[in-house]
């Protein structure tokens, strides 16, 4: 059921939007191209941040430092059925968007895009936002310095996202 919905959602959405656009006589081709241009610009803008983070992540893994740090936790984690490779991602999630994207990409590159590990990491990455970034941008914009319970609420959401991603992945792909 979930699989059918997942597979259908994107094509359905595109179909409905294009059909509605045609019905409303929107110039489909030129409008699409105008939007697509901003997509290309976005990718180019993200590139340096992603590469810079990936370089550190690649070194972190290849040097053995990551294993050194996660090996200690491995017995505890494997008892709970959690892959140690996911720990850096979980820790990074709330702090840096490019760091998260880099760690996620590295997991997919290392373990394969169809591995349960990659799909679990995908849920973790997609289930939340970079809490501290969001807070600093929006509070910063109006000069609020006392964040009160916004931090705890944001972190509670992040933690829920991480835990539920693990649970959901266990249910679906193990």
């Amino acid at each position: 059921m979930m699989q059918i919905l997942s597979a259908a959602l994107l094509p359905l959405l595109i179909g409905v939007i294009v059909a509605h656009g045609a019905y409303r006589r929107v110039p489909l081709w030129t409008t699409f191209v105008a939007g697509a241009k901003s997509g290309a610009a976005l990718g180019v803008r993200i590139m340096p941040y992603l590469i810079v983070m990936l370089t550190a992540v690649g070194l972190f893994r290849a040097s053995g430092l990551m294993a050194l740090l996660t090996d200690g936790l491995a017995p505890v984690l494997s008892a709970c059925g959690i892959a140690p490779e996911l720990i850096p991602l979980a820790l990074m999630r709330s702090f840096s968007g490019s760091g998260t994207l880099a760690l996620f990409s590295d997991i997919v590159a290392t373990h394969g895009a169809d591995s349960a590990l990659a799909k679990t990491a995908a849920l973790m990455t997609g289930s939340s936002e970079t809490t501290f970034y969001v807070l600093s941008v929006y509070f910063g914009a109006v000069g609020v310095t006392k964040y009160r319970h916004a931090v705890i609420a944001g972190l509670a959401a992040d933690l829920t996202g991480i835990v539920m991603a693990l649970v959901m992945a266990k249910l679906l792909w193990s």
């Binding site: 941040y49 070194l59 053995g64 895009a113 939340s128 109006v142």
Partner: protein, 199 residues
């Protein structure tokens, strides 16, 4: 849009330093260059795929915007905003900005969402008796933003596509469920903490 704060930049430098040091101590300096080159390839592949996915998505969303569908979607969110921000009854500009921000985020239009979000914060700040301190409404609003419900997690799909996933859209619905739960917990936490403070 990936963002890197000052602490993260420092962390990045330390991570590289410690990694190279570890490689040296373990006599694995030979691993360093292949790792960097591997990372460059990963980055290039992900970006190519990301550009593809974002072109498709933002192209389609531009049509939705021109045909009025995105406005319709935002209208559907209005009752939810009324429900979550009872204190903003009568404050139409704040409600409108919040609605547009949530709607743009849900549709994966991060670039469009931020200006609306900043606008919403300015409207909330205008009725803030203590300008340095966050109000309850601000905390709720940012709880929604930090949990971030996205209809299609385009970035994640793009990474899976870049490494040849057989079924890169498989994660869409599970992801939606997880993020919705995170959203509920985030907003509930914000609401619970504000009530306790008021007593």
């Amino acid at each position: 849009m990936p963002y890197t704060g000052r602490n993260m930049r420092l962390f990045w430098a330390i991570l590289i330093g410690l990694s190279v040091l570890t490689a040296a101590l373990r006599g694995q300096t030979g691993e360093v260059m292949p790792a960097v080159i591997g990372s460059l390839w990963t980055g290039a592949r992900v970006i190519v795929s990301l550009i593809g996915v974002m072109c498709l998505w933002l192209g389609v969303m531009k049509i939705a915007e021109a045909s009025g569908l995105t406005r319709f979607f935002a209208r559907m969110l209005r009752p939810l905003v009324h429900f979550l921000f009872p204190e903003l009854r009568g404050n139409t500009p704040a409600q409108a900005a919040i609605t547009m921000n949530i709607s743009a985020n849900a549709l994966g239009l991060g670039n469009a969402a931020t200006p609306f979000g900043v606008q919403a914060m300015k409207e909330l700040q205008a009725v803030n008796p203590r300008p340095k301190t966050a109000t309850d409404a601000m905390c709720t609003f940012l709880a929604i933003n930090t949990a971030g419900v996205q209809l299609i997690p385009t970035g994640v799909v793009a990474v899976l596509v870049s490494f040849g996933s057989d079924n890169p859209t498989e994660i869409i619905v599970p992801c939606l469920i997880v993020t919705a739960l995170a959203q509920v917990v985030g907003v509930s936490t914000a609401k619970l903490l504000q009530r306790r403070r008021r007593k």
